[in-house]
């Protein structure tokens, strides 16, 4: 099969090369020469060396924190949307779903770019606030841009529809008789939601959460465009090791680590992802 050959040469083989770089068995520089060594791994991972944590590992834990915050906020923002589409907008729900998804068929990069136009001190949002007299032009709100807030906002914004979709699918396929039964048995609207709807929609929520978690862990475009110099994420350090600092061996350690973390995330969540697929078939 041509596609198998294609993937083995251009995906599996390069990952093996990265692994070889990470232990010094290949290199792109003359000095130090090729020699088998775990020293780059030891310098990076805190449990392999004594002394303080390396800046790179600190950056990794910070990226995981940002990723978790983004994933949780995207789910929290998207759930009401999915709920509204599935239960309130009964007849028009597919049209509304289309309206909601349409912006996300347009360029992802241009949507990030739009935020770089809106968020700065002299950007659209601040000027609108000035115009309304809420902000003084000499003292614009600066935490909107070049900040962790900006990274979180833009990433959560990018993911909302992707998160809303799996939750919507689960809610839309819920057996309504269960909800009616809960209400017949005396449960209020709120306790029906809390004790019936929410637990039943959990597979969709977890699937959505993982859909955000995996790509955000390696993300470097959004932090570069809207984050400040102290907010760069792990992916930026990987990119910089290859294109800026020319430290390919160390960069390979970071890339391998990212791969391993993502693989572990998939292994842990695969149970929920397949459960979600079974749920869709009802």
């Amino acid at each position: 099969m041509p596609v198998v050959v294609y993937l083995l040469t251009l995906l599996v083989f390069p990952i093996i090369l990265i692994a070889l770089y990470s232990v010094g068995l290949k290199t792109n520089v003359v000095y130090p020469p090729i020699s088998y060594s775990w020293s780059d791994w030891k310098g990076f991972l805190p449990f392999l060396h004594s002394g303080p944590e390396s800046v790179y590992f600190k950056r990794f834990t910070l990226s995981i924190q940002i990723t978790l915050i983004v994933s949780v906020s995207a789910v929290v923002l998207a759930y009401p949307l999915a709920f509204f589409l599935a239960f309130v907008a009964r007849r028009r729900r597919y049209t509304l779903l289309m309206v909601m998804l349409a912006p996300f068929f347009t360029s992802y990069l241009l949507r990030i770019y739009a935020w770089t136009v809106m968020l700065p001190g002299h950007g659209t949002v601040n000027s609108a606030l000035e115009w309304m007299g809420l902000v003084n032009s000499n003292n614009p709100i600066t935490f909107f841009y070049h900040s962790r807030f900006a990274i979180g906002l833009v990433l959560a914004y990018s993911w909302i529809p992707f998160v809303a979709l799996p939750i919507f699918v689960v809610l839309d396929n819920l057996d309504f008789r269960l909800l009616e039964a809960a209400q017949d048995l005396g449960a209020g609207r709120f306790s029906t939601f809390l004790r019936v709807t929410l637990p039943l929609s959990l597979p969709g929520v977890i699937a959505a959460f993982v859909f955000v978690l995996i790509p955000t862990t390696g993300e470097y475009i959004t932090p570069y465009l809207v984050g400040g110099p102290n907010d760069l994420m792990f992916g930026n350090f990987i990119q910089n090791a290859f294109t800026g600092e020319n430290r390919w061996n160390f960069g390979s350690v970071l890339a391998m680590w990212l791969m391993l973390v993502v693989l572990v995330m998939i292994a842990v969540s695969s149970r929920y992802l397949t459960a979600d697929l079974r749920g869709e078939k009802h």
Partner: protein, 250 residues
């Protein structure tokens, strides 16, 4: 909420016509000056042309490869099916920064320089899984006896494929083409590693010039144009699909 989702798009479209070089309210009046400026900036227009060509070739190659893979996977017997499926879906979960790094190292090992061809190869790699995901379910719904009937009536395997199977999976192939085109036209995380100096694609042009204030109005203009055009396409294709469905239903 819907307002929030559309806000960035609206900002690009509105400010592309605003007669002020910084994107602030209140609006100052209508102009097409920024569009003129953008279309007369060869760096920008060359990047756009490169991206359009790259996206078109990618869409074609990824769809062909996707059809081949889907055909193999739809066979009743296939040695190592689980492994093949896992391999094809792998690009969906490998972080793009790792894909970019991997190709960069591969090129270096082979003594090759970065090139748009190398980028194309990676775009095909990340587009194929989506192609398989839309084409394979369609192939699986086809009744195998249709193909067998064609063969019984004297069609060669090739003729049965091109005259029976292809027309039936054409809508899925079209979806695969559009998805692959969009992926390539928008992809920057891999492109940053593989685009040779002076050969920006549109996404790497945006990425590299996002912090250059004097280029901003014209970039906003082109961005607004692309956003408006793609939204229009989405709406038209959705309306077309619904018309077609209604036509089938009556």
């Amino acid at each position: 909420m819907v307002l929030f989702l559309y806000l960035p798009l609206a900002v690009l479209v509105i400010f592309s016509f605003n007669n002020n070089n910084s994107p602030v309210l209140p609006l100052k009046g209508f102009t097409t000056h920024w569009y003129d400026q953008a279309l007369n900036n060869p760096n920008l227009t060359d990047a756009l042309k490169r991206s359009l060509l790259l996206a078109a070739v990618n869409a074609l190659a990824a769809t062909l490869l996707g059809v081949m893979a889907a055909l193999a996977l739809s066979a009743r017997r296939l040695f190592g099916r689980g492994f093949v499926i896992a391999l094809i879906m792998l690009p969906l979960v490998v972080p793009y920064v790792v894909l970019g790094v991997g190709m960069l190292i591969l090129l270096h090992s082979l003594g090759l320089h970065t090139s748009l061809q190398a980028l194309l190869v990676m775009h095909v790699l990340v587009s194929v899984p989506y192609g398989v995901l839309v084409i394979l379910p369609r192939l699986n719904t086809l009744d195998p006896s249709i193909g067998e009937a064609a063969r019984d009536l004297g069609a060669s395997a090739m003729a049965a494929f091109t005259r029976i199977t292809v027309p039936l999976i054409l809508p899925a192939m079209a979806s695969s083409f559009v998805i692959a085109f969009t992926i390539s036209f928008d992809e920057v995380a891999i492109a940053n590693f593989l685009v040779p100096p002076g050969h920006n694609t549109f996404p790497t042009y945006l990425y590299n010039n996002a912090r250059t204030p004097y280029l901003r109005p014209q970039t906003v203009a082109i961005g607004g144009l692309i956003i408006a055009a793609s939204l229009l396409l989405v709406v038209l294709s959705e309306v077309g699909r619904r018309r077609a469905e209604r036509g089938l239903g009556s």
